[in-house]
Structures are given as C-alpha cells and as structure tokens.
Amino acid sequence: MENLVQMALQNVNMAAIMPSLVLCCFGMFLLMINVFMPRGKTTAASLISLLGLAVTFVVTLRAWNHPELGFAGHVALDNFATFFNVIFLIAAFLTVLMSDDYLHREGYPVGEFYPLVLFTTAGAMWMASGTDLMTVFLGLEVLSISLYVLAGLFRGQLRSNEAGLKYFLLGAFSTGFLLYGTALLYGVAGTTNIADIGFYLSAHGKMLQNPMTIAGMLLLAVGFLFKIAVVPFHMWTPDVYQGAPTPVTAFMSAGPKAAAFAALVRILILGLGGLQADWSSLLWMLAVLTMFIGNVTAIYQTDIKRMLAYSSIAHAGYALVGLVAANAVGISGILFYMLAYTFMNIGAFAVLVLAGKQGEDNLTLEGFSGFGYKRPFLGVAMSIFLFALMGIPPTAGFAGKFYIFAGAINAGYIWLAILGVLNSAISLYYYLRVMVYMYFREPQEDYGWVRMNPGTVVSIVLAIVGVLYLGVVPGKIMEMAKMALF
C-alpha cells in the first residue's frame, strides 16, 4: 500500500500542469464567489477572471524553454504547448473583456459565464499539452462541454438554443468517431501514448500498411477536423456561429480551433509520422475543398456573423496547408497563423459586439451602411481587421499566409500554394464588400447604436496592436514559433 502511494506520487509533477491548474483554481474560486454575489452583478467576476488569465499568462511564460514532463507521460509542457497556451489565454482574455457589457445588455448577466470560459481554456491547454490520447480526449471534452453550454447560454433566445443543441448533437457524434479511431489505434499499437504509438509503428514497419492503422487514423482525423470545421465536416459552423452569443462565437472561432490544430499536429507528426504520405494527400484535398467552399459560400452571405463563419472555415483551410507541407516552416506557420487569426478574428467580433442592437443583433450588410462615418473608431478598427483577414500587408494576416504558403512551396506543393493565393483573391470580394457598405453607402436613419464601453474598446485596441505588431515585425514571433517545434 505504502509502495503504491509512493508510485503514484512519483508520477506527480505539478509544474507540468501549472497553467491549467491555476486556471482551474480561479474557475472554482469564481464559482464560489458567484454564490455570494447579488443576482445580476457580474462585473467583479469578470475582473477576477481577467486577473486569473493574467496570472496564468505569467505562469505560462515562465514555462517557455523549461519543458516539463509528468504524470507517467500524459502531459508535456513543452514549447509547443506553451505557444498554444499563450494563444488560448489571449483568446480568453479578449473574450472576457468584451463579454461583461454584452451579457448585461442582452439580459443574461450569468456569473457562471466566466468560470466556464476559464475551464474551456484549461481544456484547450490539456489538448495542446496532452501526450496521451486519453488526456487529449478529456481535454477536448472539457472544452466541448463548456462550449455547448456557452453557445446555448441565452436560454430565452431560440437562436441560441438551436446553436447549443446543434453543436451538442454534432459534437457528440464526432466524439464517437474520435473514440473509435482511438480504439483502433490502441489495438494496433497496444498503447494510447502518442509518442509510443509512433515508436511502435516505426519499429514494426508492416503495421503501417495495416488497414486497421489507416482506419484508426481516418476516424481520429474526422473527430479533430470536425472541431477545426474543415469541409465536409463544417455543416454546424455557420448556424452555431450565428446563433451563439457574439463573444462566445469570437472565442469559439479562435480557441478551440487552435486547440484542435495543436492536438492534430502532435498526433499526426509524432504518432502517425510514418503515415505522412497517406494523411498529407488526404489533407491536400480537404484543404483545397475547404478553402474553395468556405470562400465561395461566404460571398452569398448577407449576415456578417454568418459571413465570418464561412470565412473562418476558409481560414481553417489555409492553416491546413501548413499541415500538408509538414515541414518546419509550414508547422511553425500554423502556430503563427493561429496567433494572428486569434487577434484579427476576435477583433472583428468585438466590433460586431458594439455594432449590434440590443436584443436582435443588427448585423446584416445593410445595417452596416454608413457605419464608417457614424462610428469612425469602429469603422477604422473593422477595416484593419478585414484587411488582416484578407491578408494585405502590413497586417498579421499577410505574414501568416506568407509563412504558410512559403512552407507549402518549400515542400514542393506549388499548386496548393497557387490555389491558396487564388482563394485569398476570392476572399477580397466579400471582405471589401463590407467596407464598401461601411464607407460608400448612405447611413440608415434613426439607428439605435449601442453605447461604447471600456472593456470592448480595450479588447479592440489590444487586437489592433496584436494585428499590427505581428504584421510589421513578424520575425521575432516566427522565431519563437520555430523554437516551439518538437
């Protein structure tokens, strides 16, 4: 018995899970605080969660270049995980900043919103740092279940209910595939540890041609591609993004996508590196399909939130290009792109938070007529984010796309890079159309604008700083992304 306790304690290494541990402590603390808060007072909770995210940020940065392993090979806080942890924290921070006022305005000042955001972030961290399929799976579930709740948070709004229910049903469905893939890989390699699967497969070369390995890989990939929203597993994205509360959509489009990419990259490169020829040709097709369907469908949207949903599908396609290339530039390009995408997309959604009307979000293209004159600051901010999403220099979007396509060309995927650039050109149309409405249309009469509030403005300003910083001096962050590779 003594012996067992010793063995259990030997595996414990708190340093390896420190960031998520701090987040969970703050989350649980907030849950208790909420009990004693008067109903509808959530500002304190939002400030405490911002503090929690800031503390975690410091803890996370201290882990840079100090890799920690622990818990019998279940978790590795390497630079790769730390880079992604920073992305999740930035996404959560910007989201919390814009949420408080929005929740009050829409009449759902739910204090539990903030702990749920913190737990979601912790789940994303476990996905990025998990080195065992079990940890990755549980992280994914913590992330998904909190997101189902957050998407359906506005209980009285049918749109929000629909978003939550739809996300839940399709999410649980994809979990089934993910698990089946895991089970088959476990049967093939006799372990669920990602690195051990890789060792086993390289030691037993004939297992690579084993149909069960291929089936396991495909089913596992389906589960993650669903979370990333890659065609043909993108069906849920537009409806869920449109129906969920805007700050939740902002978070959903950045955090979970990056987390799923982190897990997918780790599994494909470390665990299934021997099958690279198989998965890269598969992802090649999916990347092209995703870019085209995302961009072409976005052209037909009249609701800006829905348009951004399709644009997020297209951006997932660009990031997949880096994974197809699977070389140092491509993979670090994904890391850089996810960071850049977090800033530009959350920034765009933060503008939408202030552009909407109370109750019904007035987010049609028509509603944006003359927006740039009536609200000069928001107009300029939106333009910057749209330029970044298009990939125009000197913004983060340009640098990100540059690295990813450079990676593809280095790896010999010239056509893929050409198709990617072609798609960026298609996307110009629908992003520019928003700007045409903002600056070249007559403003609508008598429009109940939402008042500005400091939290959201700070969030927008931070996002602008991020977008411009990453665009003007991308070299330093790119160096860090290269150091983050395993």
Binding site: G187, V188, G190, M207, P211
Partner: protein, 166 residues
Amino acid sequence: MEVLFFYLVALVAVLSGLIVVTAKSPVNSALALVNTFFCLAVFYVMLHAPFMAAIQIMVYAGAIMVLILFVIMLLNMGVEPHKKPTHIAWGAIGGTLVLLVSILFIQRGDTARAVGNISKDVVLREGHTALIGKAMFVDFLLPFEIASILLLVAIVGAVILAKKEV
C-alpha cells in the same frame, strides 16, 4: 458452448440496437438501449472485466438511461409523426460505408501482440477492481483529475441552462 453463447448474446445486442434505431416511440428506443447495455455487460464478463460490467449496468443503465427516460417523460413525447424520410439515403450511405470500411479493415487488419501481463489468471488472483484502481491512480492520475473538472463543468452547465432564473 462459449461460441454459441457469444452468438446468442450478440444477436440480442444487434436486434435491440436495431430497435433503438428504428422504434417510433422514444420510450421503446430507450428500453431497447438498456437491453443492449445489458448484453454488452455480459460481454465484459466474458472478457474477464467484471468491474466494467458492474459499472456498465450502474452508470449506463442505471444513471444515464434513467436521466434520458426522465426527460422523455418530462417533455411528454409520443410517437413520432410519420414524415417523409428525407435523410434515409444519407443515413444508409453513411451507415453502410462505416460498416463496410470498419469490417473490411478489421478483418484484414492485425492487432498488436499482447503487450501487457494482465491475463485471466492475474485478474482472478488479484481482483479486477484492484487492478483498475492501481492503473487509475498510478498511471492515469491526471486523466482522473481532468474527469473531475469535466463533471464539475457539466453540473454547472446543466444548472445554468435548465434553471428558469439564475
């Protein structure tokens, strides 16, 4: 004898699975699903995993299905109105594809040789529950703790969604 028993239980499992998928009334689906759970518990016993069989019954049949039945009753759902089946084609294509691919791949595939030393004798000697406990708290401590956060999130989420006023 064992083979015959396997096929018998497998037949019951597949038939009740079929009822889950096709029954018109949700209550019938739920009861058939409970039946499938029991069949699977029988398989777990045959695979020398009695503890898993026990929690299969307690957690799945006991907790989750009761919750589902409770909600079916709460929402007072009757028989589904007969509508034109639009997704049947999709479902048939998807289902058959998954079935063919997985059976084909499994039939031609090969699993790893035994990697551990947990055989039937070890399970009988040490006890299945003890083995599970050892594995869970020595090697799988972190997933266990994450599962606790997962359940916490689920509780908080269910309360704030289902309560009329928060």
